[in-house]
Symmetry: C2
Subunit: 498 residues, 2 copies
């Protein structure tokens, strides 16, 4: 190890340790911390975050990065770490520390304001705070923007390198063109799919057994992972030997089941990252979209594929004989694939999900680029839902107030959800060419599918961007057509329209 | 707030935040972290610990302490915080940073070595490591020792201010004189107490309900606290609004039950510390002994008192009708008080517990003051058990290798366990004078007992030493006679010897 890199490495150890502690606090808050711990623990978290900010923006870090950039002896891994560190540093250092602190305070509060407004179904109670959050986000984007660069492109690039409004307009355009009419067809001419049996008296302890069984079947290693419970399912990790997923249990058995498959998909990604990368700035998934591609790949392309259930549906029936003993595999698989336009993104099915995201994308563009009057948001939101999905929210709680993201200042983040679906479909069409995808699933050889993804995607962490991973794996740049084709084929067939 | 104190306070915020993160990692390790996370997480913990060490020993901290000491405008709380900070700093700064790191590495490993040796029942496998740990501990004590001060006194004072070998020799002397013969009498002439029914098919979910019920009954506030599960029960806290206790469940219902009462006793102490003290260096219990006094007060003086069970034994019977419906309150209370000499400290009953501690105290004195040849430890250990308790370990796993403490370098710590019992008894005899202790318990007014302790002990945190708390509460300096008297009266009566 060169002297310059050793210096940087020492500084990074500290920032990584602080970041890991923040991740643990977040995990603990979501899964366990007592109700009234809030403000006291928030203060501790605030201090550790500031310590992280200070260490990253410190002159010593700048010097170490510069020394490394001039050092020709660095390995390619070391170079990548320098590059990521520099980017993270620039992301932070361009924001004056006073504004950084102000914004941290604002979002600590804005989440609470949003939560209350949602409870009260009152958009006006949230609007002034949202307005402030937007102003900060625009200001922060302007600090990072290149000459003449659109602010929303800066935001998009922050979540998904190399993706801008041009690419996304084309992507969502193609999607809208195909899915909106398909959805109308299904409504008018599609067959009815019964799915009542997925709801009922599914005991929590058995759902937990099912969750563990499915996690193990997918290859989620419980010696290096944990399954917890939280209001909103999520995945996090301290490093690649401690990966944590959560779910929540209710009377819809498919709800926790597909949460687990989804989060275990994220988990497999983190477990698959190479040991030498973990606890470094390149030791996480390539991007939010690539992460979502893996979770949705397992949730939908694998988990809602009939062949996936062939080796294990019998065990599911054994767990819930009362509810499922008379339900055939075919009936079960049809039910878990049922598509029905709804108001809530997190409850959306595979077909309609990306339309929810598209609406947010269109609104974010208007907010950031066209300075949309925030007061108009609820109505435009409702109009778009009516136009694309044929449903209209009765109040802002089931409309514009449903997501936490904007209250946290995450603008440009939503599109990654839809991109993840598209990345996954592109990978899927490629994999079908080189392996007997359905056959492997049918024979219970899901490990071969997982290992393929580990080899081509997971192990690299942030060494490659999502576009590079797609290109290197499928031989083709990002191409949204696969996703549209996948949805069209699958749902036309499911609803007897083809 | 004065300028000098503001400076110190800013530095302390960081050290407290780091300490809190270390506490959370420890909690997580004991209760949840996956099996193979070990070495990766250990590295993160190591870095955060070093960060803590660095912040405490930094010149800026020294300067801030000095400035505060010269500042006459400090409040008494601020003065106490300065005093505690200075002590903690001196404890760390006197150790050269190289040795501090070496010892941290040694204990990280020594715990594993000890664990393996215990599994293999092989003392020789642990002896060389133990020898090293002892040498470090002696060296560290010598750095802190005043001219001519005995090293073991330095160690004792580190855990319990104002207690030295003189005090402890008298304390254990009195104990030995009374308890050893009493135990022989019980064995020879005492009546037989049936307790088989405490073991059996006690379902874990019901034991968990019992644990929560008892915790709530004692006033452990679950809005500010958590009950978890770990191999060895313990209590920890992030601050006074997040206090965490654990238990473990097995087929002895009294095992988890009294773990919970014990840990909730610790928990009530932490919950009772004043808000203005928490997240400062005086925001923990006064000492390890005073902490243990509260846990054992609730476990034994309250929890094994017949009157405690009068209002709630019916509910316990309802939870476990199969096992307890024919067991009277009297039979239940007799059984949970049964005294039987055994080999394992953590399983010891109220009467014999302090004898286990006494043996460790006598051995530690020999190790530190008389340079006892470590090879002789297993035999001396066995001889002392035979002499005081009438039992002899068949192997080192149930003898000298049973406790983790020495592998961690905790010499001088054990006596606090016994002192805690004595502090509790002294408080108890005082409280009986000023309130109808048994009557309150019988009427379910345990809150009045808890509130008394909160008012006189808990709220002060480290503002007073354990001796000061005893003096201010009972009007008397530490007096071990109450404890001996308590044991003698209680167990003579229980076994029909009086």
């Amino acid at each position: 190890m060169s002297k310059a890199y050793e210096q940087l490495s020492g500084l990074l150890e500290k920032t990584m340790a602080l970041q890991t502690s923040l991740i643990l606090f977040e995990w603990d808050n979501e899964t366990l911390a007592p109700e009234e711990a809030g403000s006291y623990t928030a203060k501790v978290i605030g201090i550790l975050s500031e310590e992280y900010y200070r260490a990253m923006t410190d002159k010593a870090m700048e010097d170490a990065i510069e020394a490394c950039e001039q050092d020709l002896s660095l390995t390619s891994l070391e170079k990548a770490i320098v590059r990521e560190t520099k980017e993270e540093r620039e992301r932070l250092v361009c924001i004056p520390s006073r504004e950084y602190r102000e914004f941290a305070q604002l979002t600590a509060e804005s989440t609470r304001v949003w939560m209350k407004a949602r409870q009260e179904k009152n958009f006006d109670a949230f609007a002034p705070t949202l307005e402030k959050v937007i102003q900060y986000q625009k200001k922060f984007a302007s600090y990072r923007a290149k000459e003449g660069e659109a602010l929303y492109n800066v935001m998009l690039d922050g979540y998904e390198k190399g993706f801008d409004m041009n690419t996304l307009d084309r992507f969502f355009g193609e999607l809208k063109e195909t899915i909106v009419p398909l959805l109308r067809d299904i409504k008018e001419k599609g067959r009815k799919i019964p799915s009542d049996f997925l709801q009922g008296d599914y005991p929590e302890d058995k759902q937990r057994l099912l969750a563990v069984m499915i996690g193990e079947y997918m290859g989620f290693d419980f010696k290096r992972g944990v399954l917890g419970v939280s209001a909103h399912p999520f995945t996090t990790n301290l490093h690649n030997h401690d990966v944590r997923i959560t779910t929540s249990y209710n009377d819809h058995v498919d709800s926790s089941l597909f949460s687990v498959i989804h989060e275990a998909g994220h988990g497999l990604y983190e477990l698959g990252i190479a040991d030498e990368l973990t606890q470094t700035p390149v030791g996480q998934g390539a991007s939010m979209g690539m992460h979502e591609s893996q979770s949705r790949f397992f949730e939908n392309i694998v988990g809602r594929n009939e062949n996936f259930w062939v080796p294990i549906y019998g065990k599911v029936q054994e767990l819930f004989p009362e509810q499922l003993k008379d339900i055939t595999l075919k009936q079960f698989v049809d039910a878990i694939n049922k598509a029905e336009p709804g108001l809530i993104r997190t409850e959306a099915d595979e077909l309609t999900y990306s339309l929810h995201v598209m609406i947010r994308y269109e609104l974010e563009k208007m907010i950031v680029e066209d300075n949309l009057d925030i007061q108009k948001l609820p109505k435009i939101w409702a109009d778009k839902y009516e136009e694309y999905l044929g449903v209209r929210p009765a109040n802002p709680a089931e409309g514009v107030l449903q997501d936490i993201h904007w209250s946290q200042g995450s603008f440009g983040y939503f599109p990654s959800y839809a991109l993840g679906n598209a990345f996954g479909a592109q990978l899927y069409y490629h994999m079908r060419k080189i392996m007997d995808f359905d056959g492997l699933l049918r024979e219970g050889k899901i490990d071969q599918i997982r290992d393929y993804l580990r080899e081509h995607i997971h192990q690299y962490g942030k060494l490659k961007t999502s576009r590079e991973l797609l290109k290197d794996t499928t031989g083709e740049d990002f191409n949204p057509s696969y996703y549209v084709q996948y949805l069209k084929e699958k749902f036309s067939s499911l609803y007897g329209l083809s």
